[in-house]
Symmetry: C2
Subunit: 336 residues, 2 copies
């Protein structure tokens, strides 16, 4: 812990704690002279105020919590960058929590936030999180929570999302326009509204274009690469195998490509593939991958900006609102 504190400064300067405190915070009550002396000594002694003492007194932590399922995903890492950029600007600190899609962990983290550890929360829920329940309880409490990307429906707060339905509709239509007759949708959870929205977009587009969706064309993948690989292989080995594939999350890309390779299926000749992904390497895959790219950085940044609005205004109530930042379809060889 810091060795030099405000008392040390006060003593050395023959001033009172409170004067020093005010000087450090550049209060109008303090003379220029005094301020200067205080600042100089503080610098000289490498004084840094104890944030926890200050938090305790002011009931403000200057810290936000970020709760996400995963970091090794270019959407989330992009969002973190967006969040961090505004947190830094505001002088806030960022606590990060990974849930690994585990609802119990998520609950534990949220419970801890009841302690005043953070002034606000940015959250993208796990795939196991039900729409109601504990999360709702926490959010309805005194601490502002803003959701981004993976939101929970029916919560009275702001949610930053992308146009999941529309972009998925567009992706599906794109596949169809390229000649696909049977398209499979690789889901990852029934709970996640974004994944369901994407699924609905897919289904609607199929319907609109008179393409049949069979029940087993929607496949729920897991969190494990190997079993997803096996799963995808299964789908592509069926008699009436799909000629189009929509992967609802980035991490499904590798299993899909590997499965095709192993089965000797050519992308895009045998199967066309499109993926919800922000991978920088999409453009150098073999073949290059058509993606729906989400505005990760912007979503993180927007979510943080709104959160800080709520934090800074006293008595600010986060309205139930949706902010939609559109994704964009980037066409490449995998659907050509």
């Amino acid at each position: 812990m810091s060795s030099v504190n405000i008392n040390d400064l006060a003593k050395q300067l023959h001033l009172s704690k409170s004067t020093v405190s005010k000087a450090l915070r550049d209060s109008y009550e303090i003379s220029q002279e005094t301020k200067k002396k205080v600042l100089e000594l503080a610098q000289q002694l490498h004084y840094v105020p104890n944030p926890y003492a200050s938090s305790l007194r002011r009931k403000k932590s200057n810290t936000i919590g970020v709760v996400i399922p995963e970091v090794a995903d270019s959407f989330f890492s992009g969002a973190i960058k967006g969040i961090e950029s505004v947190a830094r600007e505001k002088g806030y600190h960022v606590l990060i929590y990974l849930t690994y899609e585990n609802y119990e962990r998520e609950k534990a983290i949220l419970k801890d936030f009841g302690s005043g550890r953070v002034d606000g929360v940015l959250m993208s829920v796990s795939s196991e999180t039900p729409d109601a329940g504990d999360v709702k309880d926490t959010v309805d409490k005194k601490i502002p929570v803003v959701f981004f990307d993976r939101v929970v429906e029916g919560m009275n707060t702001a949610k930053i999302i992308t146009n999941d339905f529309e972009s998925s509709y567009e992706a599906t239509s794109h596949l169809i326009s390229r000649g696909c007759k049977r398209i499979a949708y690789l889901s990852i959870s029934k709970h996640l509204t974004i994944i369901n929205k994407r699924m609905e977009g897919y289904q609607k587009s199929c319907l609109d274009h008179n393409i049949k969706c069979f029940d087993d064309d929607v496949v729920e993948c897991s969190n494990d690469n190997e079993s997803n690989f096996a799963l995808v292989k299964g789908i592509l080995s069926k008699k009436k195998r799909p000629d189009g594939l929509i992967a609802s999350v980035e991490k499904l890309t590798t299993p899909v490509y590997r499965a095709c390779k192993e089965l000797g299926l050519s992308i895009p000749n045998d199967v066309k593939v499109i993926c919800f992904s922000n991978l920088d390497t999409a453009s150098i895959l073999s073949p290059t991958l058509t993606t729906i790219r989400q505005p990760a950085f912007e979503m993180g940044k927007t979510a943080a900006t709104i959160l800080f609005k709520a934090i800074e205004k006293r008595n600010f109530q986060l309205k139930k609102e949706y902010i939609i930042i559109p994704s964009c379809l980037e066409e490449r060889e995998s659907t050509s």
Copy 2:
């Protein structure tokens, strides 16, 4: 902030604060009965102790700081996972700070850590960080710092690294064994010891195999994708262009592939490429990419484990030591 505090509990139970406090921490001094009552009420009222009050009193934050240049890099995201896994186990919280290779930011963050905000620091330095100076000052202070991957030489603390020299030597030898006669090394900073170690491994291997390294075969890339792209194109457009390329960091992969594509150069026929990278998609690139894969998760985990050892032992002294976790060469088409 939390509304119910330890006083509320004490009053409702007709006990003293200290009894309640001890009961909550499961002290041997307290009777089972009392503990049970306390725990029950705490649960019922959703009591969560204020961490900052506790920190203030105990001079312990139960928080560590992680300072890294970047999240959107599979090495760092992997390392974060390793770090987070042990922090969670220890009941610690993780503050994350991104420096974006900016030394000034790094200094500011380190200075803030003088406040007692964190009990320890895990750090991978920016590419601008000089070997001596402010970082050294902070580290020599009272708070334990463990470096991982991007370390600073000559600091009296633990450093978790991978075998940069050897793996780079191996990579270079691999290229040579595949017939490369002229190999370029794409660097990213003269300051970073890991990058220099890798360079030395490259140079030594060239020397040992009687391959000439010209001065302009070592190319310092920047932090910007587009200018790196231009730079790589430049190298590959030279009269005597290299037939082998070693990219010292992951983010150089895309520029390299794009440059080859644009110049109509075939990987691996015209140029063989090997990259220090943890990209999951290496195996599905076009062509698949030979990589040197660093043990990101393990390095993060090890660094955190050592840090906690220092934090938990009173009178810790982190010895100056290097822990080396080897990388591994994963051979794929780009060098075939």
